[in-house]
């Protein structure tokens, strides 16, 4: 009578063991009752590994046994490739890992010291104000658009008032519209200056340039904005005499802050990467002007100082990439034909004009010939563009509509545009 009582259990146990032979067995560590509230997590017991001694774990017993150690299971890895769940190897396992770090300036970098830091990194001398012969380009009536002021004011009004179905367009939108309207206006001069036809606008190109400064390696990487490309290079802005005079200039240092502050420090990088964004044989290889917008990147809000620093760095990056492709990557003390790149930055109302002239690619030391930067900062195109008038104490302080238009700003814009074409 006893045997029929026992046999099912014996059968069950044997069958249980037999059936799970070669398959996973159930681990009863977690099939306990769980409290409804989450207890505060206790620090897990420290696992001490003594070499030579084998740990007796309760892994074989398939349930917790007080006194035995917790088993350590190998990390499970997917045996097929799933791009949705990919874990990158740590930096020191990557192929391009290098012990020496590289400091990268990308389009979201907000340099702490602003323009002085960018000037130190690019070994450049700052001259405030645009060069006078450049400004005189737009003074002559032959280089002016017919009804210039009226058309520019219409362009501003279109960007600020008319280009929306809501009450007012957002800053990102109106600065974008304003820039494209102004560029369109400048391009109408093509009938008079056919050289403008040898230029093209390009967007979303990725720039890369490498250089050594002191003992550190620096790189400029990223998509910076609208680029105005040209088939012919820009003429140089300053003569050989001025270029030679820059050798006496001393770069501004900012002790105790290091010049590589706020730059992204990477150990995985490609050395000597120099890419102007376009392949060999591109018909418009020379960078003419870069157009930056302050609200171009949603995730990055830059202060005006940091925005100007970004302009300097990317103008330099474009010039350096061109220099490396023309003269090779070896540092050249003086370039025979200095490379000039211009940059215009705007936030919809204020404009920053920049001209960068690359005189040397020998940037490791602090002495010697420096590059030159002409910077005209915070130039207003107009004072106010209000939808509703500002009324204080029943008096109209600022009327509605476009107010305080300054024609000199567009003349500067036009002269930078026409540089090289006239």
């Amino acid at each position: 009578m006893a045997t029929p009582l026992f046999s099912p259990t014996v059968l069950l146990k044997d069958l249980g063991r037999m059936s799970t032979h070669g398959q996973a067995r159930r681990h009863f560590a977690v099939s306990r009752s769980l409290p409804a509230k989450a207890l505060p997590a206790r620090r897990p017991r420290e696992r001490v590994e003594i070499p030579g001694l084998e740990m007796v774990t309760y892994g074989d017993r398939m349930h917790y046994v007080p006194g035995l150690a917790k088993p350590v299971y190998p990390q499970w890895e997917r045996d097929y490739k799933d791009p949705g769940h990919y874990k990158a190897p740590p930096a020191h396992h990557m192929l391009l890992y290098k012990g020496k770090p590289c400091y990268v300036y990308n389009q979201r970098t907000s340099a702490l010291e602003g323009v002085p830091q960018a000037l130190w990194l690019t070994k450049a001398k700052l001259i405030s104000g645009l060069p006078p012969h450049l400004l005189s380009l737009a003074e002559s009536p032959a280089n002016q658009i017919p009804d210039q002021d009226e058309r520019v004011q219409n362009a501003i009004k279109h960007a600020r008032f008319w280009d929306t179905t809501e009450e007012r367009p957002c800053k990102e939108k109106y600065s974008n519209t304003l820039l494209s309207n102004l560029l369109h206006l400048c391009a109408t001069l093509q009938s008079r200056h056919t050289v403008i036809g040898r230029r093209i606008l390009a967007e979303k190109y990725s720039l890369a340039a490498t250089w050594k400064r002191g003992e550190d390696l620096f790189q400029v990487r990223g998509q910076n904005g609208l680029l105005y490309n040209c088939m012919d290079p820009l003429p140089e802005v300053s003569g050989k005499q001025e270029v030679g005079d820059t050798a006496h200039h001393v770069l501004e240092t900012f002790y105790p802050v290091s010049p590589s502050i706020d730059l992204q420090k990477v150990h995985v990088y490609e050395e000597e990467v120099n890419c102007s964004g376009f392949r060999e044989g591109y018909p418009y290889p020379h960078a003419h002007t870069l157009y930056f917008q302050e609200d171009g990147d949603v995730n990055c809000k830059l202060h005006p100082k940091q925005f100007r620093a970004k302009m300097v760095m990317f103008a330099f990056g474009n010039a350096l990439a061109r220099a490396h492709s023309l003269y090779g990557t070896q540092p050249q003390h003086v370039l025979d034909r200095p490379i000039t790149v211009q940059a215009v930055g705007t936030n919809g109302r204020l404009f920053q004009f920049l001209v960068f002239q690359l005189n040397t690619t020998d940037l490791s030391g602090d002495d010697g010939i420096k590059n030159q930067v002409w910077l005209d900062e915070d130039v207003e195109l107009y004072d106010f563009a209000k939808l509703r008038p500002l009324i204080k104490k029943k008096q109209v302080k600022v009327p509605a509509g476009l107010e305080g238009y300054k024609p000199e700003t567009f003349r500067k814009f036009l002269s930078l545009y026409l540089h090289g074409a006239v």
Binding site: L12, H21, K37, Y73, P256, S258, I261, K265
Partner: protein, 300 residues
């Protein structure tokens, strides 16, 4: 949906076999087992419930230092069970936490361990404490520290871990070990154990006084007039903490207290016990934080 199907697939492999399963089926299962990769005989258990972890404290578990403010979760005085553990906390303006580096003698990674200088970039209000905080930049890094009384943007502050024979004439805002400072200096951000980070004298307008230096230790008087004895290698900043008029602030109305996150106390009249009333007691004995080997250890 996918999780459920994965779970059912896993559970199916673990089902306790029915008594009807005989050796033939066991054989077929092993045959199938050769096709399907087996889990090696052991498999760790898995939960069949949803995760019971709470993420109410995950915002403060960040290990990497950052200068950017971190969003905070308010607790309202409640603990992990949901009941009030501390009364009078709740509501108030939303705050972001800025990670403060209390370890003033924090050398940069890959840099030499020698005295360094930092430049004050910004001094600003911190919603999480009574004192103001300063963003200082040195070398390649930026960090937040507690600002001292006359700290302005553009100042250069020095941090040194060296104890010389002569006492240093310290400027306000600089940080030195206690052994390097002259007796009688006003100090703040006191470390009790060297290298741990400052835990004392951090509130607005407070300052301690370095009373005397005794062989390898220094005695500091805290703002509560309590005296502590610490090792002379503990770092300390010179000067008073910023925002000195904090205690003169008049709240003015109940609403301002609510903006600060202080809820009204219970209005029930409760008989005050022995804890209430003015107490005039002698100062507690000096607290010693120096771990000297005790005599009892030597004898045993």
């Amino acid at each position: 949906m996918m999780a459920v199907s994965c779970l059912t697939r896993a559970l199916r492999s673990l089902t306790v076999s029915q008594p009807a399963l005989l050796s033939s089926q066991a054989v077929t299962q092993t045959k199938l087992g050769t096709l399907v990769p087996s889990t090696g005989g052991q498999c760790r258990g898995f939960l069949t419930t949803a995760s019971l972890d709470q993420n109410r404290t995950q915002w403060k578990k960040r290990e990497k230092y950052t200068v950017n403010p971190i969003g905070m979760k308010k607790t309202g005085g409640r603990d992990h069970t949901g009941k009030i553990r501390t009364h009078g906390i709740g509501g108030g303006h939303k705050q972001k936490y800025r990670m403060i580096d209390f370890q003033r003698l924090h050398y940069e990674a890959d840099k030499e361990t020698k005295p360094f200088e930092e430049k004050v970039v910004d001094v600003r209000y911190d919603p999480c404490r009574s004192a103001d905080i300063a963003l200082v930049a040195g070398g390649n890094r930026k960090r937040w520290i507690i600002a001292t009384e006359n700290m302005q943007t553009g100042d250069v502050i020095k941090t040194s871990g060296v104890i010389g024979r002569m006492a240093v004439s310290a400027n306000e805002g600089d940080a030195y070990p206690l052994g390097a400072l002259p007796v009688g200096t006003l100090v703040n951000n006191l470390e009790i154990q060297p290298g741990k980070g400052s835990e004392y004298i951090r509130a607005a307008g407070t300052s301690g006084v370095l009373l005397r230096k005794v062989n390898g230790t220094a005695i500091v008087q805290l703002p509560s007039k309590q005296q502590v004895q610490v090792l002379e290698t503990c770092m300390v900043t010179v000067g008073r903490v910023s925002n000195i008029d904090h205690n003169k602030q008049i709240i003015g109305k109940a609403g301002r207290n609510r903006w600060l996150g202080i809820r009204p106390s219970s209005g029930l009249w409760q008989r005050k016990g022995g804890w209430a009333g003015r107490k005039i007691k002698p100062l507690p004995p000096m607290k010693n934080y120096v771990n000297l080997p005790s005599i009892s250890n030597k004898t045993t």
